[in-house]
Symmetry: C3
C-alpha cells in the first residue's frame, strides 16, 4: 500500500489537467474523482437561483481555444494548458490584428516566463493568458483566434459529505475547487481534505465531520444559503488551502481570535515543533471570509503553508506538479490529523473524589516507593486530569495547560474513569 503522501501526489496529478471553474464539467469531473477517495454527494444548484445577495451564474464549459499566428502556426493552445484561456471567457472565433488581439491578452511583465491565471466570472469578456516573453515576440499581422466555450443555463456544482459521528455536533472542513491547472492552489487542499475524510470514515469519530468541496466565494455563499438552518450544529471549522508548498505553516485565526479551534491549532503547531506563524483574521483570503461574515459568524480558522499571494508562482503556470512536494502534503495531512484527533477526543469529565487527591496507590495507579525524583509523566497526567476535571476544563484544555500530549491525557482519563474516579460529562 502506498504512503499517503505519494497517494495524494498521484491524485493531484490526475486532477491537474482538468479545466475547473466556478461552474461546469471540470468541477463535476473533479468531484467524481474526489468521490473515488471519499464518497460524496454531488449537488447541482440551477442557474438563476438566488443565494443571499448573489445569483447562480450561467454555467461555463469549454472544449478548445487557440491562437494561430499570421503564418498559421498554433502559438497558444488551451488543450496544452487550460490557463491560456481567460476563465469564464465568452466564445470567440475570428481574425484579429495584433493590436486588437493584444487588448485581450493578459501577461505578467514582472514574471515574464509565467502564464498568469485570470478570470472574468461576472463581466462578459474574452481573453487569453500568455507569458510576457511570448507576448513580446508577437509580430504584426492577422491572427486566427478560437475560444470554443459556452455560457448556458445550467448549474453550479459542489460536493459534500457528512461523516456521522457519535454526536450530531459538526466539525466543518471546507476547501475550494474552482481553480483550473494550479497545484498548490488548490489541488493540495482538495487532496488533503479528501484523504482526511477517507481516514475519518474508518474511525467512528465522536463528532460528525462535514467535508465540503466548493467553488470559491459563490460556492461558499451557495452552500451557506442552502444550509443556513443547519449551521447551528457546527462547533467549528477549518478552511484548507495551499498545503503543498513551503517550510512553514500559517494558521489564520477565527474572526473572534480566541475560538476553541484557535487554541487547538496553536497548541498542536507548537507541540509538534513545526515552523509556523499564527495570523489574525482578515476578511480576505479564502472562504473563511464567507463563513466569518457578520451574519454567519462561524468560528472557522484556516490552515495554509505559504499564505496566498506570497509565493512567486502564485496564480501562474508555475504552480504545477513540480512545485509541490509529497513531504509538505504529508506534513499538512499529519497536522490536520493531530488537530482532528484533539477535537475528536475532547471530553469533559467530573472528578468524583475532588477533595484532596484520591489515593491512587491503593488503586494501582501510583508508584509505591516514594521519595524518588523521577515522577513519571503518566502520573503527572493522572494528577492534571484529576485536578482540572472540575466541570470547567476539557481534556484539550488540560493538555494545553499541562503541555502533555493529548494521547497521554486521554489514557489517564480513561484509567481514572475505569477506577470510578471520573464521570464523563460530555
Amino acid at each position: 500500500m502506498k504512503d499517503t503522501g505519494s497517494a495524494m501526489v498521484e491524485f493531484m496529478a490526475d486532477l491537474y489537467p482538468i479545466c475547473r471553474s466556478i461552474t461546469g464539467n471540470g468541477v463535476r469531473e473533479t468531484l467524481h474523482k474526489v468521490n473515488e477517495i471519499l464518497p460524496i454527494e454531488i449537488v447541482e444548484v440551477p442557474t438563476g437561483e438566488l443565494v443571499f445577495d448573489w445569483e447562480i451564474p450561467r454555467e461555463w464549459n469549454i472544449t478548445d481555444g487557440y491562437i494561430k499566428d499570421p503564418g498559421g502556426n498554433k502559438i497558444l493552445d488551451f488543450k496544452k494548458l487550460n490557463l491560456h484561456v481567460l476563465n469564464y471567457s465568452m466564445p470567440v472565433s475570428g481574425h484579429f490584428s495584433l493590436e486588437e488581439l493584444k487588448k485581450h491578452i493578459h501577461t505578467i511583465p514582472e514574471k515574464p516566463d509565467l502564464v498568469p491565471y485570470r478570470t472574468s466570472y461576472y463581466k462578459e469578456n474574452w481573453g487569453f493568458c500568455m507569458s510576457h516573453n511570448q507576448f513580446r515576440t508577437l509580430e504584426e499581422g492577422e491572427y486566427e483566434v478560437l475560444i470554443d466555450s459556452s455560457l448556458t443555463s445550467g448549474s453550479l456544482t459542489y460536493g459534500e459529505v457528512l461523516i456521522e459521528g457519535k454526536i450530531r455536533e459538526e466539525i466543518l472542513i471546507s476547501t475550494h475547487i474552482c481553480h483550473p491547472s494550479l497545484c498548490n492552489d488548490n489541488l493540495s487542499g482538495i487532496a488533503v481534505s479528501a484523504f482526511l475524510g477517507n481516514m475519518l470514515k474508518s474511525r467512528e469519530p465522536h463528532y460528525s465531520y462535514r467535508f465540503i468541496f466548493i467553488p470559491g466565494t459563490i460556492g461558499a455563499i451557495t452552500w451557506l444559503s442552502q444550509n443556513e438552518s443547519k449551521l447551528g450544529r457546527i462547533r467549528c471549522g477549518i478552511v484548507t488551502a495551499l498545503l503543498g508548498l513551503g517550510e512553514r505553516f500559517t494558521y489564520k485565526r477565527t474572526r473572534s481570535g480566541d475560538g476553541y479551534i484557535d487554541k487547538v491549532f496553536e497548541f498542536i503547531l507548537k507541540k509538534e515543533g513545526v515552523l509556523h506563524d499564527i495570523i489574525d483574521f482578515t476578511p480576505y483570503g479564502y472562504d473563511e471570509r464567507q463563513f466569518s461574515s457578520p451574519g454567519i459568524n462561524l468560528p472557522v480558522g484556516s490552515l495554509s503553508r505559504i499564505p496566498y499571494g506570497q509565493y512567486h508562482e502564485y496564480h501562474t503556470s508555475g504552480d504545477n506538479m513540480d512545485l509541490i512536494s509529497g513531504k509538505a502534503l504529508t506534513e499538512s495531512f499529519d497536522i490536520l490529523d493531530k488537530v482532528i484527533a484533539h477535537l475528536d477526543a475532547d471530553r469533559r469529565y467530573l472528578n468524583l473524589s475532588p477533595k484532596g487527591e484520591p489515593q491512587l496507590g491503593k488503586r494501582g495507579l501510583y508508584d509505591n516507593v516514594g521519595g524518588r525524583n523521577d515522577s513519571q509523566l503518566f502520573q503527572m497526567a493522572l494528577l492534571w486530569v484529576l485536578n482540572f476535571s472540575d466541570g470547567n476544563h476539557s481534556l484539550t484544555d488540560i493538555a494545553i495547560r499541562s503541555d502533555i500530549a493529548i494521547e497521554l491525557i486521554i489514557e489517564a482519563s480513561e484509567k481514572l474513569a475505569e477506577k470510578g474516579l471520573l464521570k464523563l460529562l460530555n
Copy 2:
C-alpha cells in the same frame, strides 16, 4: 496667510509678557487674546464661593516689584521678568537687611543661571525669585524692596466655548492658563488649543467640542463644581500641555487605562510614525488629576511632549520663547487634529447584507478581472467595513483592527452606505 506653526509662535510671543496667576487681570488679558483666535465666554466666579472642598481665593493683582541694592541700583525688576516676584506674593514696601531679605528670596543652586518660578497661593507670604548666580553676589547692607500687589475680593476667571456639533455628546479639551512668563508650560497648550478650536469652528463637527482655558487645580475644580450636571455629556477628554518642546510625544492614559480616547491616541501616534511614549495614569501632572478624581472619573487622557518636570528649563526663566519651536507646535497640532478627525468621523454602521459578502462587482465596487495578486487597499477597506459593521464595531475600531487609515475606512463606509449595503447606527 501664515502657516499655523508661525501663527502659534506669534500668538505665544504676544502672551508671553503677561503676568498670569490663578486669578487676576493677567488671566483676563490672556483670555481676551485667546478670544481673538477662538471666541470664548469669559466666566467670573467670585471670591469666597465654595467649589467642592475649596473656596475661591482673593484675587491677586500686581503692578510693580523690585529690589534696590544698598547703592540704590535696581537689581531685580518685575517689569522686566514677572517670574521675579513670588506668584501671589503679599504687598511689601520697606528696607531690609541682607539677612532678612534672603529669607524671602528663592533660587535654584543647581541651576545657578535660571530664575525659578514659585507660587504661594494659599499661604500669606512675600518673596522674590532670582538666579543663584545673582544671589551669590549680594553684598551686606540695607535693601529697598517693593511689591505693589493686592489681594482683594474679586473673582477667579476662566474661558470656555462649546463648538456645537451635530450631536450633543461632547469632547472636552482643557488647558491650564495660570503660569506667567513660561512658554512651553503652558503658552504652548493654550496656543494649540485655541488654534484647534478655531479650525473646528469651520468644520461643522459631528460631536460637540468644549474647550476650557482654566487656572490649574483650582480652576479645574471650579469648572467641575459649576458644571457637574453637564458632565454626563462628555464622551472623553484631552488635557493639552507642554506641546512646544522635544522630539517625542508623551500620551498619558486615562484612569481606567483602556478608554476609547486611549485606543485612538495609541493608534494615531503609531500610525503617524512619530516618536512617542504611552504612560499610565498617575494622580499627578496637570488637570487630568481633577477630571480623574474618583467622584468625577471622566475618561480624560493627556498629551504632552517632554513630560512635566523632565526638562532643564522647567518652571524657570529658561522656559522662554527661545526654548520652543514652531515645528514642535505644528506637529502637536497635527497629531491632535488627526485624533479629533478620528473621533469626529467615528460612526457605527450595520451591514444590511451580512450573510456572506455582498456582490460588490455588480455594484461597481469590485475589480472585475479576478485572480490578480494586487488586491487594492480600497477593496480591502470595503471588506473590513462590511465584515465588522456588525453593530459592535465603530469605524475607528475597524481602522485600528485593519491598520488602514481612517480616511479610507470612511470613504469605504460612505460608498457602501450609498449603495444601500450599510445603515448608519450612530
Copy 3:
C-alpha cells in the same frame, strides 16, 4: 539576642537527627520542639479514621536498624543516619545472603556517594538505603540484618495554631514535617514558619493567621477533612518549603493564577529586588496540591527557593546542615515577613471628598510653596491613596499600581483618615 538566621539554623540543627515520618514519635518530638518557638496544639488522629478518600495508616516507630557484614562488622547504622532505613519499613531480623539482601537495598547509581531517602508508606516492605559506592563493595556472604520498627494502631500527629487577629478571616501557612534527616526539605520550611508565627504573635495582626505543621499529602488531607467547615474563613494561603538553599526564589501561583496572594508575592519579589521566578500552578510539588484540589480550591501559593527535585542533594543524605545557609533562611524569612506585612496592612478606604482633589494645604498635608520640581514621595502617596480609594482598590492594590512601598501608602492613608478625608471600609 541572636539574629533570626542563626536562631533558625540552631533550631534546625536540633531537629536534624530526629527520624520523622508521616506518623510516629519523630513527628511528636518535632512538634514539641516547634512548640518551644511557637506554641501549638498537637492533634492526634487515630489509625483507621477515614479522611476523604484515605484512611489514617498504622503508626510507625523505629528504634534501631543495621546491617552487619559476614565478618560481623556493622556496615550500616540507623542510629548514625536515619535515612539508612526505608521510611515506614516493616521490622525484620535475620540473616540473608548478599543476593537476597540486595533486593532490599536502594541506591542512586548516578550519585554514588549519596544515601537516598526512600519511603514505602502504603505497601508493606522492608529495606535499607545506602550509597552506591558502598553498595559496590559488598562481598558475598551472609549478612545479619535488623530493623527494630513497629507498625501499630496509633495515630497521625500534626500541629496547629491560630494566631487570632482583629478579624476572623484567616491566612493559612502550611509546611510539611514528614521528612526525616533532610535539612532544606523541609527543616527550612518548619523553621521559617515557626519563627514567622513567633513574630506574628507579638504583633496583634489584623487577619487571623493559621499555621499548620503537617505530614505531606496524608497530613494535608487529614487536616482538610477535619476542618472542612472552617475553610470558608481562609482568604488565602502559603505553602513554605525548601527555603534554605539557592540564590533565587520560586513563587508558584495559585490554581487560578490571578489570586490576591499572587499579586502580592509578585509585587514584593520585584520590589525587593531579589532574583526570582514566578511559575504557574501544577498539581505536583507540596501540599498546594491538596489545598488546590478541585473540591477544596483554596487560593494557596507556594514559596520555595530552588524548586523540589532540582538540586543535586534533593532527597539524599547530601541535604544536611552543610547545605543550607543562615543567609538564605533570613532572606526567605524577610520576604515572607514583607508579604505578611502587606496582607495584614491591607484595607480599603473610601475617599470622602472624591470630587477633585481635596485641599491638602489647608489641612497641613501639602507643601505650601508651589512650583517646585521635587514633589515628595509622601505627597504622591497621598494623591494615590485619594484617587484610588474609590471602594474598588485596597491599599495593596494602590501600592502595586503606584509602585510605592506599602509602608508609605499606609502612612498616607492613616494621615488622610485622621483628617477626615477617608473612611475605613474594611
